[in-house]
């Protein structure tokens, strides 16, 4: 046995010393450390802090509206809501750490809103936002409903709020809860960021893998399915216009989708959130481009970029109001879906194959 161990060590050292002899490294520069750092500095941190300030402003405006239940305050609150919901479009994909732990996404943006649940909560006056049954009775969809859907005209909506205290209390409770959980999530990054940046392993629980998975999951479910596919009727026997994001405020659905898609492109290609300039060092795209031996338009990195540009154009060509788009020409929405879908294949098949990132969290044997 001694002999065996000795020989084993001998072989191992021979191999390792071979390494010193040849300096040529032909593998790709798989610099995940820089990439995670870039993601934090240029995407995660600025996106979150911008969102936090927007959500704080929305919360303040809701308190103003509580004091002055008039047209002017309602309009300011609506404006702040749309601002915050716009900023949210770049935050939803960052479902890691605290956000994942407290089901942040599910509390912020599950739509369509469950109107029956909202109504029941308002009349009972007692509710627990941590109860999963209340996921569709809080967050942006609920605000959207309560600012635009409570009556046929602005006067009627204001009337609802002046008739009792329950409505305004629910509205401010929702905004306050959104503010508080956002504060928790943003605050957690102070301590979490170091762990995040250094978590470069290729395991199911490493930050790099979780972020890649989050990105894919958001692209496929949060963006493709929720914003376009489900309302367009891809997953049902007919279209479901009430599932459009911001259904009650109507005209914002395309705005949200474009904002979200730009957020996706910038995250993928590596653009700074604040300036829109490309950052240096590793990006998700640069890693893929390096791993793929093809060049030019056939290179996977470029292929994805080019198809994203096409998809973004298709989204831009849609009606401002997706409900209107569905009712007048749903085929156009479905064609947009197809353009978005082509990229899902490239991301989930070609990119994952190159990265060899574990997608599922099951720990099983292979051979």
């Amino acid at each position: 046995m001694k002999k065996a161990t000795l020989t084993f060590l001998l072989i191992l050292t021979t191999i390792i010393s071979c390494d010193e002899a040849s300096e040529e490294i032909s593998g790709p520069s798989y610099d995940r450390g820089t990439l995670l750092n870039n993601w934090y500095i240029y995407s995660i941190q600025p996106r979150l802090s911008e969102f936090k300030s927007k959500i704080d402003m929305m919360e303040v405006a809701s308190k103003e509206f509580k004091i002055n239940k008039d047209n002017a305050s309602l309009n300011i609150l609506r404006e702040k809501y749309v601002d915050a919901h716009m900023a949210w479009q770049r935050v939803e994909m960052i479902n890691i750490g605290k956000a994942e732990e407290i089901y942040y996404n599910s509390k912020m943006n599950v739509y369509p809103v469950n109107v029956a649940r909202v109504t029941a909560n308002i009349s009972s006056g007692t509710y627990d936002f941590n109860n999963a049954n209340n996921n569709a009775a809080q967050g942006f969809p609920t605000i959207d409903y309560m600012l635009y859907g409570l009556g046929e005209s602005d006067e009627k909506i204001i009337e609802v709020y002046t008739n009792d205290n329950n409505h305004i209390n629910y509205l401010t409770d929702v905004t306050e809860n959104m503010k508080n959980i956002t504060k928790d999530v943003v605050g957690s990054w102070e301590t979490y960021k170091n762990e995040f940046i250094s978590s470069t392993d290729n395991t199911a629980t490493s930050a790099f893998n979780i972020m890649v998975n989050d990105f894919l999951f958001y692209y496929e479910k949060g963006f493709r399915a929720n914003k376009i596919g489900i309302p367009g009727g891809v997953f049902s026997s007919g279209p479901l216009p009430e599932n459009v994001e911001g259904y009650y405020s109507r005209v914002n659905s395309k705005k949200y989708a474009i904002e979200a898609y730009n957020g996706i492109i910038e995250f993928y290609e590596g653009k700074q959130h604040e300036t829109g300039n490309y950052y240096s060092g590793s990006t998700l795209k640069s890693i893929i481009s390096d791993l793929d031996e093809n060049t030019g338009d056939n290179n996977l990195g470029n292929k994805i970029s080019n198809k994203m540009t096409i998809a973004l154009q298709k989204i831009t060509d849609l009606d401002d109001d997706f409900v209107n788009q569905i009712e007048t020409n749903n085929t156009k929405l479905l064609q947009t879906y197809d353009a978005i879908q082509e990229i899902v294949v490239l991301l989930k098949v070609d990119m994952l194959q190159l990265l060899s990132v574990t997608v599922d969290y099951i720990d099983a044997d292979g051979d």
């Binding site: 002999k3 065996a4 020989t7 084993f8 072989i11 191999i15 390792i16 390494d19 040849s22 040529e24 490294i25 032909s26 593998g27 790709p28 798989y30 995940r32 470069t200 392993d201 290729n202 395991t203 490493s206 596919g229 009727g233 891809v234 997953f235 049902s236 026997s237 007919g238 791993l291 093809n294 056939n298 996977l300 899902v344 294949v345 490239l346 989930k348 098949v349 070609d350 994952l352 194959q353 190159l354 990265l355 060899s356 990132v357 997608v359 599922d360 969290y361 099951i362 720990d363 099983a364 044997d365 292979g366 051979d367």
Partner: protein, 453 residues
């Protein structure tokens, strides 16, 4: 001449050694599987299970599935101590194989290896020595037929040899695929991850080395002079794969199995050592009345030998059945399993199903994750027989007696670093296609050729 060979004998210590080791490894492997919570996760939780063609009736039986694992565990314990050996190994073979047949999502070559190895062991008197059976029957045998040992060696030789032959293809040898993809992604391993594993020559060296290893190791183990070197290589190779890949019990089983090539003196030493340890706590399989006999006797030797010969004939042929199917084996995977094709392909798939209602003229996409676990969904996405079986599940789910829906697959697959391409003909209603051994014409051909065997 054949009779001469069949009459040749070998020390029964070798079989005792193999039985004890096999029993112990199986006990450990079932406990490991149980403790990881996989029984629940893989067999009890999923709503749907993928079956082998012809074995659709083999399904998990709810909470009672634990009982099957328990039976399997007890039988391997009985094999270990050699209690009612023949019955125990039969029960082990049946229960273990039943477990493997419950869901093909978890198919692994080494599970298949254990299944057929335990089948072979039914015909081999591994309780001839150092077993509780000796104590009960008061008989112990010094020798067993040499062919018993040779059969085990042959099975191991087949595994390595066929695994080596399967590597003789252009992806493995000329592109270093799929090792290149896997090794590049192991950057987080200490020392070698960022250095060695990122170098192209290492990918090629490991591909070629693996091929040469598989093709030569059984012969190096057979020859006494090279045996020690071979065993060191076996340990190195399997420990290396253990470090690199989530490969479970396979390295342990193969390292142990290769020890059967050692001389019986080695096996005797090990068994004597265990005997010593046991007797120090007052245990022994021998009583004063135990008669020591020369050699085991088998009244039905002819039948046994015929079964074993037929078994090996089947083992030799089965891996070549893929020749009956046109197209690229790695792509369509018809005739891929049960052939010792180990770690040959990296495949990623993305498959969704569209249900068309022919009466209303409407259609919708199905969310597969509503019915499948992430692991099942991953496996389903690139294997045609899974895709077909799942499309039938969907078809049944959404059809009514009057209205039979149509099911179409929107499927893309990438193989060994190639760009993704459409995998399944999107215009074929899979709900009307049936599973059989016939060629599946609705698999679109690979836009490339992989040369070799």
């Amino acid at each position: 001449m054949i009779q001469d060979y069949l009459n040749r004998t070998h020390s029964s210590y070798t079989l005792a050694f193999y039985r004890v080791g096999f029993g112990a490894l199986m006990c450990y492997s079932i406990i490991r599987f149980w403790l990881k919570g996989w029984i629940d996760e893989i067999y009890i939780q999923p709503e749907f299970h993928f079956s082998y063609y012809g074995f659709e009736w083999v399904k998990p039986i709810g909470e009672l599935t634990y009982l099957i694992f328990f039976i399997c565990f007890v039988s391997s314990l009985f094999v270990l101590i050699g209690l009612k050996y023949r019955a125990s190994i039969l029960v082990f073979f049946v229960s273990f194989t039943y477990i493997e047949l419950m869901d093909k999502t978890t198919y692994l070559n080494h599970y298949y290896f254990i299944s057929i190895l335990s089948f072979l062991l039914i015909f081999i008197p591994a309780n001839a020595r150092f077993s509780v059976d000796n104590y009960i029957s008061k008989k112990e045998f010094k020798k067993i037929s040499k062919w018993n040992i040779d059969a085990l060696k042959l099975l191991i030789t087949i595994v390595y040899l066929y695994a080596g032959i399967a590597k003789l293809n252009s992806d493995w040898l000329l592109e270093a695929m799929p090792l290149k993809i896997w090794l590049l992604s192991k950057y987080d391993l200490p020392i070698i991850g960022e250095t060695l594993l990122q170098m192209e020559w290492v990918h090629y060296a490991m591909s070629w080395g693996g091929m040469i290893y598989d093709l030569s190791i059984p012969f190096l183990l057979m020859i006494a002079k090279t045996r020690l070197l071979a065993f060191i290589l076996v340990i190195f190779f399997h420990v290396f794969t253990l470090v690199l890949f989530p490969i479970g019990m396979f390295p342990h089983i193969m390292i142990f199995s290769s020890m059967i090539f050692f001389s019986s003196r080695f096996h005797k030493k090990i068994i004597n050592f265990i005997e010593k340890v046991l007797s120090s706590i007052g245990l022994s399989f021998k009583s004063k009345k135990t008669k020591i006999l020369a050699k085991t006797k088998n009244k039905k030797e002819k039948l046994t030998v015929s079964i074993v010969m037929f078994f090996f004939l089947a083992q030799a042929i089965i891996p070549f059945r893929y020749q009956l199917y046109p197209g690229e084996l790695f792509w369509h995977e018809q005739g891929y399993r049960f052939s010792w094709r180990v770690m040959l392909i990296e495949k990623v798939g993305y498959t969704n199903f569209k249900v068309v209602d022919p009466l209303k003229g409407t259609s919708f996409m199905v969310n597969s994750s509503d019915y499948l676990t992430p692991f099942q969904e991953k496996q389903m996405s690139f294997q045609p027989d899974f895709i077909l079986e799942f499309s039938h599940f969907i078809g049944r789910k959404f059809s009514t007696e009057e209205n039979r829906v149509k099911v179409y697959a929107d499927s893309f697959v990438a193989l060994n670093g190639r760009p993704s391409q459409r995998f399944i003909d999107p215009d074929v209603n899979l709900y009307d296609e049936t599973e059989s051994f016939k060629n599946k014409k609705w698999i679109l051909p690979l836009n490339d050729e992989i040369k070799g065997i």
